[in-house]
């Protein structure tokens, strides 16, 4: 971690931070775009404000992506559940 304080570490930290919250903003816009335009505009501003209040996000992301077997198992089970729910809900079988 000691080299993260120097120029290269700071530059990449800023890049990854900017990338992180622009992708959250874009993902939010993609989802809200299907709703009406007022919700779209307001929702985007809310997301932008929320992200700007919670910087830095990149260190939390880094902690969530360590190669620990328990963390990966948790995300795997979450993924299986989410995929099953999305497929069943999207096809209209579950009401």
């Amino acid at each position: 971690m000691e080299h993260k304080g120097k120029g290269f570490g700071i530059g990449s930290g800023f890049t990854s931070e900017f990338l992180m919250f622009s992708s959250i903003l874009i993902a939010g816009m993609l989802v809200l775009r299907t709703a009406n335009s007022v919700l779209f505009a307001l929702g985007s501003l809310v997301i932008l404000a929320a992200i700007l209040f919670t910087v830095p996000t990149v260190f939390r992301v880094e902690k969530e992506n360590t190669d620990s077997i328990n963390l990966t198992s948790f995300y795997v089970v979450l993924t299986i559940a989410v995929i099953l729910i999305v497929f069943f809900a999207g096809s209209g079988v579950l009401i």
Binding site: S68, I69, N70, S73, F74, V77
Partner: protein
């Protein structure tokens, strides 16, 4: 569906869920490996359950039909539609046999890795092996 088939599917479901639970929740390395194997066993049972036919014949020609056979005229083979009506579905057996072999090879590799990790760390606890400080 036949109650026997329903029972085997339910057992398979219990096996898969038990295996997943063991992989996620157990702290012992070997219990995780056993859980991974249980998932494969459950899937094998689903495959065999699909091929079940109550009162069905084993889908190969047996001695019963050889009794009055004249091999040169192949008269010991049943006519096609009788055999098709009576025999159980033969395809899942082939799939399960292949999967058992695959499961055995992956199990052996995982067990070998467990032995090596045990010799290095002198413990089977996943928490100590995987969550300890990485010696960089």
């Amino acid at each position: 569906m036949d109650p026997f088939q329903v029972g085997s599917f339910l057992t398979a479901g219990i096996l898969v869920i038990t295996g997943l639970w063991a992989i996620i929740m157990m702290d012992n390395l070997l219990k995780k490996v056993i859980g991974a194997n249980l998932v494969g066993d459950g899937v094998n049972l689903v495959l065999i359950g699909i091929g079940y036919k109550p009162g069905g014949l084993i889908p190969e020609v047996t001695h019963h039909f050889h009794a009055s056979a004249v091999p040169s005229t192949f008269s010991h083979f049943l006519a096609f539609n009788e055999f098709a009506e009576l025999a159980s579905y033969p395809l899942p057996f082939a799939l399960v046999l292949t999967n058992i072999v695959i499961g055995a090879s992956t199990l052996s590799v995982m067990l070998a890795l467990s032995v090596v990790l045990y010799h290095k760390y002198n413990t089977l606890s996943v928490h100590k092996i995987f969550e300890g400080m990485e010696e960089d």
